[in-house]
């Protein structure tokens, strides 16, 4: 049900129920593409990507009865726009088992936009080993790629303009769950 949260919050494009459904579908897609859960590692990009990776792992555990190793991959130190803004405090990285050698890594993030975050994540990943394959799962793809990068699993394709702002809220990080879009030309 689309709803207006409060003035300035923008239009809701995914409700909490939508997010739950979308994650269920992505989890199934991941399993289908990988023909099961073997060798899978889910790595979320902080901060909300980590929550999404944990949620996907929980769904996979329910479906397959296997616990998929889940971790976090911080990309702060690998960004290509470090000089354009004040420094940020890096977030924890945790690689289950300490290496991604020969694993199938699924990177998980909330919003795919320019693709630069994913580029940085691929660089960071290379410092932890050589995965057999790397896939990308995102909750929202809002377009406007600046690099030749695409997602393997997308929750929702959301055509946007540059001036619009997409906000993802997830329990565990925010007080409710939604994806909203605000700003831009009416």
């Amino acid at each position: 049900m689309p709803r207006e949260d409060s003035p300035g919050e923008g239009r809701v494009v995914l409700s909490d129920a939508d997010i739950a459904r979308v994650l269920k579908r992505i989890a199934h897609e991941i399993l289908e593409a990988n023909k099961g859960a073997s060798d899978l590692v889910l790595l979320g990009i902080p901060s909300r990507g980590v929550l999404l990776a944990q949620r996907l792992a929980a769904i996979i555990a329910e479906v397959e009865g296997t616990a998929v190793p889940t971790g976090a991959l911080d990309i702060t130190m690998y960004r290509d726009d470090l000089r354009k803004q004040p420094t940020r405090t890096p977030m924890p990285t945790s690689i289950p088992g300490g290496t991604v050698d020969a694993r199938v890594v699924v990177l998980v993030d909330d919003v795919l936009y320019s693709g630069r975050t994913v580029r940085a994540a691929l660089d960071a990943l290379g410092d932890y080993g050589r995965p057999r394959a790397v896939r990308l799962a995102v909750l929202v793809d809002r377009g406007h790629r600046e690099l030749p990068i695409r997602a393997d699993h997308v929750g929702k394709n959301l055509p946007t303009s540059h001036s619009e702002k997409v906000r993802v809220r997830l329990l565990g990080h925010d007080d409710h769950e939604s994806v909203t879009i605000a700003g831009g030309e009416p």
Partner: protein, 329 residues
């Protein structure tokens, strides 16, 4: 992720000359970042691209093992080019002034000068002459800010947050830049601090300072170690023979008896406070201010301090060099 999160930190100063340039929030940022940097230290591939293309010069006019090498390793692991210049091998030994030396290096277009000098205030003065970021790696008897940061980091790793903890600093206060920086940072982090030294090794004016900054003074180590307040961390300072022209205490033996962490003192301390931690900024005079038993005790954090030195200096280099110039977005 470009849409969400991204909370910018408070503005880091352009130079790190003194702990007084920071506040509790900035120290927190530096220590939190150091935690993540220590992950790099534990990785197989100890290299991140963050400072690619930057040049860091270590300009050391005084001897150093751990500070200089840890700044060098920190820079290299972050992909900066790091170069060491020592006073002895540089043109200052031919009579060039400090100003000409640093202006010469600065003219080559370096990004950071990590400087140690025997004159208090040297780093501060140099910061006014150069375009590079200046990091004080020890200036005379004034300050050694990255040492205080790594001390705080190491203690926190073992005993948790420092707020309300009792840290006792013992030794040559007059000549110790480590003590000066540590008192400032520990107070900012909310620790209770007691400093202990013989009267002859207490700098003039310390009473007024201790009242202003809220730390305690004592001349009696045993009284403090057995006191009701307890001890969470004990920091032994090095007796700086090279800065003393004699007369501060009658004999080394007498200093050890009064203020050294001897084996009997250690045994009693550990019996009273099993969770106490022992720090020493190094290099140690074993048998003078710290016994071998204490230096190698399970409570000793001395090697953890060295390991933390690299992570903390990576954090400092990152926050000073990696972001937008002038801290603006």
């Amino acid at each position: 992720m470009s849409d969400s999160t991204a909370s910018a930190t408070a503005t880091m100063p352009r130079h790190l000359l003194s702990i007084a340039d920071l506040d509790a929030d900035l120290i927190r940022t530096l220590l939190d970042t150091a935690t993540q940097m220590q992950d790099v230290q534990r990785r197989e591939v100890k290299k991140i691209p963050t400072l690619r293309g930057r040049t860091v010069i270590n300009l050391f006019f005084e001897d150093s093992t751990r500070t200089r090498s840890s700044f060098e390793i920190a820079g290299k692991w972050m992909s900066a080019d790091t170069i060491n210049i020592t006073g002895k091998g540089s043109s200052t030994s031919k009579g060039e002034s400090l100003r000409d030396t640093v202006m010469t290096i600065d003219a080559m277009g370096v990004d950071a000068l990590v400087m140690r000098h025997s004159a208090s205030g040297a780093a501060h003065q140099v910061a006014g002459w150069v375009d590079a970021h200046v990091i004080n790696a020890g200036d005379g008897t004034h300050e050694h800010p990255t040492q205080a940061l790594l001390d705080a980091y190491t203690m926190e790793q073992r005993i948790g947050g420092l707020a309300g903890k009792h840290v006792v600093i013992v030794g040559d206060l007059t000549h110790s830049r480590v003590f000066r920086s540590n008192v400032l940072s520990l107070r900012m982090l909310g620790a209770d601090v007691t400093v202990v030294a013989p009267v002859t090794l207490m700098p003039s004016g310390i009473r007024a300072w201790s009242e202003a900054d809220g730390f305690a003074l004592s001349n009696d180590l045993d009284l403090i170690l057995t006191g009701d307040r307890g001890v969470d961390a004990l920091m032994m300072l090095r007796v700086q023979k090279e800065r003393m022209s004699g007369g501060y205490f009658p004999t080394a033996r007498e200093y050890t008896v009064g203020y050294g962490l001897t084996r009997p003192r250690l045994q009693r301390l550990v019996a009273d406070h099993p969770k106490v931690v022992i720090c020493h900024p190094g290099p140690m005079n074993r048998g003078l201010e710290i016994s071998a038993d204490a230096a190698d005790a399970a409570q000793s954090l001395i090697l953890d301090q060295v390991a933390a030195g690299v992570a903390v200096r990576m954090s400092v280099l990152y926050h000073l060099l990696a972001g937008a110039e002038g801290g603006a977005a």
